[in-house]
Symmetry: C2
């Protein structure tokens, strides 16, 4: 029960993209240098976000990644699911259906109370993540540490 390292990287990357002027792209090598991360691997993670429709990519000089839609409409859950996959974290294999003389017609995953408990807990987790948008986090961070945005944006733009 561990999330990949890329989740933290991806959310920070999205916040930075929310800060950069519209129409500009942030390239992954520059982002990786800023946070001291393996560049090619960060690139791979951002590709997953493109595949999920969270980011758009631009090739060539002055290329990079930018948000595919307005940051108010991108939730933290979107980013997490893009990287970790949409399937539930709890693996229920319905072992109740393996017992001797089990009723083959019954849906043991649906009716199993343990499975229901796990699904409900995971729903609470997802709802909490869905309540936070990239825009909300970006705004809060800027209010709390105004100089951080300035520093990040100027550093990332220096790649020109």
């Amino acid at each position: 029960m561990k999330t990949g390292r890329g989740v933290e990287w991806a959310v920070h990357s999205c916040v930075n993209m929310a800060w950069t002027p519209a129409g500009e792209a942030v390239n992954s090598a520059r982002l990786a240098a800023y946070y001291k991360l393996p560049g090619a691997y960060l690139n791979k993670q951002l590709q997953a976000l493109v595949h999920a429709g969270v980011l758009d990519s631009v090739s060539g000089p002055r290329g990079g990644f930018h948000l595919a839609r307005r940051p108010e409409h991108i939730t933290v859950l979107d980013v997490v699911l893009a990287l970790e996959g949409p399937e539930p974290a709890f693996r229920c294999e319905g072992i109740l259906g393996n017992v001797p003389d089990a009723d083959q017609e019954q849906n043991y995953v649906r009716t199993c109370l343990i499975s229901q408990t796990m699904r409900q807990a995971e729903l609470a987790w997802r709802q909490a993540l869905a309540r936070q948008t990239i825009a909300g986090i970006a705004d809060s961070m800027e209010r709390r540490f105004p100089q951080d945005r300035v520093k990040a944006v100027s550093y990332l733009a220096a790649g020109t």
Copy 2:
């Protein structure tokens, strides 16, 4: 972001132990045969529960595992944490502290809003799991499928 297979097995095992008469132990080979699971591996998972103080073990003939305390005082969260480890699922490495000219005195993990969001979501998940006890699940399952308890207990006791 996946839980191990053993979580489902362990919770079902605990429910069965809540059903067995007090003073008797359930051995892992019999449990594994009932649910068609790899016996030695189930044994290993239950060992983790012993290490965490959820189960007690008894060696030798008529040996096995039994709950270490009353099933009303064992939550699903206890079982999950015993197997997956108590540390948070979200790995925050505080990459904000890696940026150039970062303030080394500041605790970036504590103040990072992304980290806070993740911690809050995970707290909701844990609270949902902590609300469900083994006793509660066992009672509900018995109310809904009364014959299942009879079948399981008699099968497991047949190892005598």
